[in-house]
């Protein structure tokens, strides 16, 4: 089985780069190839060396579903991983950075989900890496924990670190990354700054209609000449400029269709991914073909 095929990309020093795609797209395999933990055919370089030969002092990794020794405290965990390097940051400063100073002496298994992920992130920061790989850093944690991780990554990027993030959360990629690469079926289907990709492939702005009788709303809007975005579980009207939202509301009112709300939005990376791959990405990261219920 070929997990990656024909992928070609480079990440510049100090850049935040996102690898986006659903589960099985090849993100983790690519990270493993780039960090030298799996073999891959082709040319790969990390810090000017073969990945397996790159200076580990300069590389940090947070693997997907990383589970460190659960009976160690946050402080002991950071000290443990710090002890594996020739030089490491002080444990206290790392815990402070990830917001765990107050929970430093709590054993890992007693931390909350968000705290656990931040403790894991701390183990990737302890050697003060120049290049940091974060494989699905916020999967499975609550929104508050996710925002805390985002702030940390922002701070790292501001400090000049090169950060490679894999994620199936499009919002996360837009928020964190200077450039993103969209992976599907092991292939890189597009690459560039999120805004450029959205501009080139995202399509027109749209309005999401929330109505009890969705079929009636669809009929009313179709009768008024509107088209719909396919692969959506909600009723989404395509190509509606902000000043035209009122016309959508009028079309529904004229047909006697009640609605709970109209939500206008610009296209985002989700639309880009859908346009380019024919797939949407589910909330838990699973791929969903266009037209699936």
């Amino acid at each position: 089985m070929v997990a990656l095929d024909g992928v070609s990309l480079s990440v510049r020093p100090g850049e935040g780069y996102g690898l986006i795609g659903p589960n099985g797209a090849g993100k983790t395999t690519l990270v493993r190839a780039l960090t030298g933990t799996t073999d891959a055919d082709g040319e790969l370089e990390l810090l000017g060396e073969r990945p397996a030969a790159a200076d580990p002092q300069r590389v940090g990794l947070l693997p997907q579903e990383f589970g460190p020794p659960e009976r160690l405290t946050a402080r002991e965990l950071v000290a443990y991983y710090g002890g594996l390097y020739d030089s490491a940051r002080s444990v206290a400063s790392v815990l402070d950075d990830v917001g765990l100073a107050d929970s430093a002496d709590t054993v890992y298994e007693a931390l909350s989900g968000g705290q656990k992920r931040r403790a894991c992130l701390a183990t990737a920061l302890v050697n003060d890496p120049d290049v940091l790989f974060l494989d699905e850093p916020t999967t499975g944690i609550d929104p508050q924990g996710r925002r805390a991780v985002w702030r940390l990554v922002d701070a790292l990027a501001d400090a000049g670190a090169t950060v490679v993030v894999t994620t199936h959360y499009m919002e996360e990629a837009e928020r964190l990354c200077d450039r993103v690469g969209l992976l599907a079926g092991g292939q890189l289907v597009a690459e560039g700054p999120p805004a450029d990709l959205v501009s080139a492939h995202g399509g027109a702005p749209r309005v999401e209609v929330r109505a009890d009788d969705e079929a009636a709303a669809r009929d009313a809007l179709a009768g008024a000449g509107y088209a719909f975005v396919p692969d959506e579980r909600r009723l989404v009207v395509d190509d509606v400029a902000p000043e035209d939202v009122g016309r959508v509301a009028s079309a529904l009112a004229d047909a006697g269709v009640d609605y709970e709300g109209l939500l206008w939005r610009q296209p985002d990376l989700e639309e880009v991914y859908l346009q380019l791959t024919g797939q949407a990405v589910g909330a838990s990261g699973e791929p969903r073909e266009v037209g699936d219920a």
Binding site: R32, T35, G36, T37, T38, P56, Q57, V59, G60, L61, L62, P63, Q64, E65, F66, G67, P68, P69, R71, L72, E76, L77, A79, Y80, Y81, G82, G83, L84, Y85, D86, V107, T123, A124, N127, F133
Partner: protein, 259 residues
């Protein structure tokens, strides 16, 4: 210094993690104790009457020690490998300066410390409860060290081969049980078929050597000879040391880089 720092960090973390698993700690020490209580105190040995457990109590001391030297590292390291695989820890460690053999050495040192304590307790129990006569010997230290290293290596291999922690437990029991009873520990070779290749079991060299170092029947003391059929303590130690190096290297090579 960096290498020592890495090995020390691995050993300290592993030791703390083990000591906080209270059930594991309890049974590490309870298991050999119950063996001594059953075989040494309840069944009791009847020297010279023939059959199982008929040698003098001192004969079985090497078997009691073999229990911890065999079972604990095999299951502990195997389980640790399984836990590491489940938590993608090897993938992370592969991006640090820690080498695979350093990881295994860190684990081995912890096991040597734990089993060293357990072995001391076993010796005391064997003397106090089973009435065993044990000749003091410094050779016990390298015997325990090499024995533990050997089975840590084998545990790492099992951890690589088995697909889960449950699998490791089953595999280590499946390997350890026949080894324990077919390595001249509790069953003398005279009671086993001649065709059985006892020399194939690495534990045989441990039990033979420890017995040679610590077991002094009256007739042996009188003549100064080593009991018949048991190789000299030093010779078995050399074989055990060579096997330990081989198994350790095999275990280190078996450790995965990706989980």
């Amino acid at each position: 210094m960096s290498r020592l720092r890495r090995i020390r960090s691995e050993a300290v973390a592993s030791g703390k993690a083990f000591l906080r698993r209270r059930t594991a700690v309890f049974f590490t020490f309870f298991f050999p104790a119950i063996i001594i209580l059953i075989f040494g105190a309840l069944i009791q040995t009847t020297g010279g009457s023939g059959g199982l457990f008929t040698e003098p109590p001192g004969y079985y001391v090497s078997g009691y020690l073999a229990v911890v030297v065999l079972f604990t590292p095999l299951s502990r390291v195997g389980s640790e490998v399984a836990r590491h695989r489940a938590g993608s820890r090897f993938e992370k460690l592969a991006t640090t300066p820690l080498r695979r053999w350093e990881w295994l050495l860190g684990q081995t040192l912890v096991n040597v410390a734990i089993i060293g304590v357990a072995a001391a307790g076993i010796l005391l129990l064997a003397v106090a409860v089973a009435g065993a006569s044990v000749a003091p010997s410094l050779l016990l230290v390298p015997y325990v060290g090499f024995g533990v290293a050997l089975f840590c290596g084998l545990g790492a291999v099992l951890g690589r081969v088995a697909d889960s922690q449950d699998g490791v437990v089953a595999a280590s029991n499946g390997v350890a049980l026949p080894l324990l009873f077919l390595s001249e520990t509790f069953v003398p070779p005279s009671l086993l078929p001649d065709w059985l290749p006892l020399w194939l079991s690495p534990l045989t060299y441990f039990s033979r050597g420890v017995r040679a170092a610590t077991y002094r029947p009256v007739e042996t003391l009188a003549t100064g000879r080593v009991p018949g059929g048991v190789a000299p303590a030093e010779g078995n130690l050399l074989v055990l040391a060579a096997l330990a190096v081989g198994f350790f290297l095999a275990g280190a090579a078996a450790l995965p880089r990706t989980d």
